[in-house]
């Protein structure tokens, strides 16, 4: 009895003779109640034997009868049943669930199983876990899992292995690999593909579609532009963490002004507000916390920047309360960017303890969602 593995692609080559020559013919090979089928393959009769290739992707484990239907000019001229059934065996090693790493509370990590169609959100960093099952009853031989993600724009990225866990007990049957995270920067379908390789043989493959949308509520930036290279740690903004503005170098010891804008890109969303958290301010010469004046905030819509705030940051937030968010409301538009310019910065001593002029995070509110 032919024995195969689930999802294995095999080609049945059927020597078929149809007479007379010149007839439009078709053949379809299928298992069981068409749980797997080659589909209808067309050919023209020649009056002599022809090898017709009929590819089949093997179904779930089980034993299946094999059927072959042959038609000529649309008429069924032969319905065959193979003498031997096909057996789909349970593989010794197989890929199991794919999970996304989440952080339900401080210091905790919780992988949550994904299914095709699971939602992810623009602005997220997605870290995937891929599990495998080992029912061989023996320890896993050398193995690896290759994982890639194809973004909605068609670009494909291989994900690196961050760490792996293997059950120390051969009787235990599972293991997993955690892969390097990827950034969700586009709406659309992200296709995750995993391939299990054991002893240099491809044993199993799976594919998973994740649907990326813009989260309702507050969204982190998905890109930034720091044209003057005046800021640092901008990538943190994509995670909702502070960005730091910095004036460095001896020549700027007595700088009072910082007019280097930083731009943050967002998925285009309907919005009427943004928020910014001032998380730390420098101190003045007397050791008192100060706040910069003339903070300019622009939002991008209708192919142009539009100012929505100009003035002291105190009016939108209380920087004495670290991490507190202050909102700026503006007329509703399809917004895709926020630009912030600290037009005037108070004195600070770059040789002193407060090298960082400012830390802040910025988010845009999605009315739709």
């Amino acid at each position: 009895m032919p024995q195969f593995s689930p999802s294995e692609v095999k080609i049945a080559v059927a020597p078929i003779t149809v007479k007379p020559a010149g007839l439009a013919c078709s053949a379809e090979l299928y298992l069981g109640a068409k749980v797997a089928t080659s589909g209808v393959k067309s050919f023209n009769s020649t009056g002599i034997k022809q090898d017709i290739s009929l590819p089949i992707t093997m179904p779930a484990p089980g034993t299946y009868p094999v059927y072959l239907d042959v038609t000529a000019q649309g008429m069924l001229i032969g319905a065959y049943k193979a003498i031997e059934d096909v057996v789909i065996a349970i593989p010794a090693y197989s890929l199991e669930q794919t999970a996304i790493e989440t952080y339900p509370e401080e210091g905790a990590i919780l992988p949550i199983t994904l299914v095709s169609g699971s939602l992810i959100y623009v602005g997220e960093q997605v870290k995937l876990w891929q599990y495998l099952q080992n029912i061989s009853g023996t320890a896993l031989p050398p193995w690896s899992i290759a994982m890639s993600v194809t973004h909605p724009d068609g670009t494909k990225h291989e994900l690196g292995e961050v760490r792996r866990f293997i059950s120390g007990d051969p009787e235990q049957t599972w293991a997993y690999i955690v892969f390097s995270p990827f950034s969700v920067t586009q709406t659309g379908v992200y296709t995750v593909e995993a391939t299990l390789i054991v002893e240099e043989q491809v044993i199993d493959e799976l594919s998973l579609s994740l649907v990326a949308s813009v989260a309702s509520g507050w969204n982190n930036p998905i890109s930034y532009n720091d044209p003057d290279n005046a800021w640092s740690n901008e990538e943190a903004a994509m995670l909702g963490q502070p960005v730091t503005g910095y004036i460095g170098g001896a020549s700027s010891k007595y700088s009072y002004y910082l007019s280097h804008p930083i731009e943050f890109g967002f998925p285009t969303i309907i919005s009427d507000r943004l928020r910014i958290s001032s998380m730390e301010c420098p101190m003045d010469q007397t050791g008192c916390r100060v706040s910069p004046a003339d903070v300019l905030i622009d939002v991008y819509y209708d192919n142009a920047w539009h100012n929505v705030h100009s003035g002291n940051l105190y009016i939108i937030g209380d920087d004495e309360l670290e991490g507190r968010w202050g909102e700026v409301v503006f007329p509703q538009h399809l917004v895709s960017g926020i630009r912030i310019t600290w037009d005037k910065l108070p004195y600070y001593d770059p040789e002193g303890p407060y090298q960082w002029a400012f830390l802040f995070a910025v988010q845009l509110f999605n009315i739709g969602g």
Binding site: I11, A14, P15, K19, P20, M75, A82
Partner: protein, 124 residues
């Protein structure tokens, strides 16, 4: 499917539509032939048969009687298809009047009885 005359003094050519020239082995089908015999009132017969030639009748409707009307008549000619497949059979139609064959036609298209066989399947 069209017929062309091979013998006789009737119409030079009679066109006959046959919608499905591919038949399964052993099935019974009825050919409906529009036949015109003049003058009216003659005792007529028609026979449709399949074969490799007009002297070897592999399958036949037998002679079906009708009386001529001088106008076109649809004459039903039931035939059980040959059980031997894989062959294209020629189709012949003979028309008799008062016992004399007055028309002999051969269809321009053959009736095809397909056959198929499958040998051992190999998995690659």
């Amino acid at each position: 499917m069209e017929f062309e005359k091979t013998e006789g003094k009737g119409l030079e050519r009679i066109a006959v539509d046959m919608l499905d020239p591919v038949m399964a082995p052993g099935v019974s089908r009825t050919a409906v032939a529009p036949i015109t015999v003049s003058p009216s009132g003659l005792s007529c017969q028609a026979e449709l048969f399949l074969g490799p030639n007009d002297t070897t009748k592999v399958a036949t409707s037998g002679k079906k009687s009708f009386a001529s009307t001088g106008a076109s008549q649809s004459v039903s000619l039931p035939v059980t298809m040959p059980t031997t497949g894989g062959v294209a059979y020629k189709v012949f139609l003979d028309v008799f009047a008062n016992g004399y064959r007055i028309l002999a036609y051969q269809a321009t298209e053959d009736v095809i009885i397909p056959s198929g066989s499958v040998d051992e399947i190999i998995w690659e």
